[in-house]
Symmetry: none
Subunit: 206 residues, 4 copies
DNA sequence: CATGAATGAGGCTTCATTCAT
DNA sequence: GATGAATGAAGCCTCATTCAT
């Protein structure tokens, strides 16, 4: 139905507007009215599509998580070659996505904050937990793959390294957020070289 | 003067109370009244010592940064032995401090959030930038030391690895925050083994 | 015209739906949307038939008054016998109508309330005034009839007694509304016995 | 403590202001801001003393009930003489209180309305039920007293007559509210004469 | 005619901050 | 200095009404 389509479209428009405003002003700093203006709709219209400011925020969160996961999956599926190569390619890809997500990055911090306090705590915490788990899973299977191929040393603990790596990428972007001069691309590259050489069963040639 | 001392003491009491309440309820979720109750003083008294809720929050931030830095410095100064050993000892020490900072960890997220939006943005952002820079500095000099001693490979990029490492530690605690079952101690240990072996100029015996 | 009939029918459907919802939730508690749902029409359709929520409420009021008056008139016209007998029969009939109007009774209170405040005040107040006047008229002529027949004492003030009686019936239903255990049928019966014996010129045999 | 006294005094000031405004504009028509202005306090101050608009309204209700009951009790305790005399004196007293409660009478209708719908329903309904019960009790014991003295006929049903009487008084005031020309004093007087003569065991001399 | 998506005025309530005691 | 009662700006949300389809 055309009707349903239009509704969905408008919902998305509000969602994107919300994402932008939340990113700019934070959750508390954002007025529902601002979102409405940004979306080009009336204040009441926002409530036709979302039950509350909180709900809308959570919807933005879900949208963000989905978009991020989708991006990661695409990156990974596009990768080929040795495990080392795929690992550092994934790292590069994530670091390169910084420019396009820069403006939205403050959202991530708002999400963290929301999961730490507020009544939304549980919803967010659970989703984060799951999100990290999923991402660790993806990376650790990549590493396990490398072990099985004999590319990485068998005593490497894939889960632990994956967890640390996932975190590292996150935190490099965080540092990039705080410091415009921080070269997260270079940091990630050099770091991955060192790490991968630590994982490798033999001296790397790359 | 006894008088000045008493004033300082009360200020600290309010600060600690604020830290606790902010940690529990987040910045927006915290009422100045709650802090006053927790500190055992009148609501108006809080304003005798701090100009505004925002100021108080920033004061908590500064207190937190200082405490954390002090802790890190103590850890490091207590370390001895090879660079590898000192590095993994630092990692252990940071990871072990989790239990005692667990209850306060949500503060970190509030700080991130504050630096992302809100009017306090600049103050926080600057402080974070500096804090990360300092910490990277500490770690990178540790690594450079290892290189100079011939313990680590000369082509290792100390700054990059330090940046990544600092982030890793941060992010492992973050994952511990989200997931009670996540074993950040183990993850850090196994990860450091892999990384250090990647940094080392020769197969490690440790 | 079939066309006109269909329109009228729908208007009535909306009216009845409105009566039900107003009775259940009160005027302020009622959403126009609720009425539309109950009537099985679109929200906009309500406005095709009534100019505003207030108008609709007044229409319900008029409908209610008319229905009540019609009922009273039927009761009275069906009565025969002595004035005493007709009076107590009227009382019984009114009290017995409780069960069927129970669910709608809260409407009466809403009407009272509407006449007490709100912008609709004048409309309602006037209608109530007239309604009570009419009803007093009916009852007082019944009593006057009894006086003329020599059944009631000549010094009885028909208007005053009628006014009080009308009120008594109202208020017994009110008490029934507040208290499910209250036996308004019995109270009315015993009370009418006493009153009628007070009106009668001689000891009653009935 | 002077302090407590001042607090109580202000609470009362707000309560009275609320009573006035509610009486004038009805519950929905009243803005909390209006009450604050009428009470000469800030809007927020109202909330220092009452949790919500609804709570304030219920407090007004309780205050009204108490004041009414107190008045009735005073009237009754001041009465002497025969049961008939006390009964009609009570009636007179109630009818005479009209002038002083006229301006507040619309409150009663608001209370009725509140007990009919709205979320406050239960609170109000219960209180009304109890209030009527209490009042019926008072009147019926007065009547029973008359029976015991041999003044009223033994077959009189005190409870029923009391219930009806209580209602009658209520409803006469209601009619006075709707119709300025309605002479409730006279109606009550004449009606009581008739009723009392119906209750009496012998022709009254009064 | 019928509909229901869109609207925005309006109201309750919260809470940081002030200031008289 | 310490207090907490008082304040009112500010914001979320509701809902009667409109109007394009």
């Amino acid at each position: 139905m055309v009707y349903e389509a239009r509704r969905k479209e408008k919902k998305e428009r509000i969602l994107e507007a919300a994402a932008q405003v939340f990113a700019m002003r934070g959750y508390s700093g954002t007025l529902v009215a601002d979102i409405a203006v940004q979306a080009g709709v009336g204040k009441g219209t926002v409530y036709e599509y979302f039950d509350s400011k909180e709900d809308l925020f959570f919807a933005v969160f879900e949208w963000f998580v989905q978009a991020t996961e989708a991006k990661a999956k695409i990156s990974i599926s596009a990768l080929g070659g040795s495990a080392s190569h795929r690992l550092s390619a994934l790292s590069d890809s994530l670091m390169q996505s910084w420019d396009e997500m820069k403006d939205m990055y403050s959202l991530v911090m708002e999400f963290w904050s929301a999961s730490a306090s507020s009544q939304m705590r549980e919803r967010f915490k659970l989703a984060f937990k799951q999100g990290y788990k999923d991402f660790r899973q993806i990376v650790s299977s990549l590493i396990r793959d490398g072990i099985e191929r004999g590319e990485f040393r068998p005593e490497v603990d894939a889960e632990s390294v994956a967890a640390a790596l996932v975190g590292t990428w996150d935190a490099l972007l965080l540092q990039a957020w705080f410091d415009e001069d921080f070269d997260h691309l270079r940091a990630a590259k050099r770091f991955m070289e060192a790490l991968i050489s630590g994982l490798a069963s033999k001296p790397q040639l790359d």
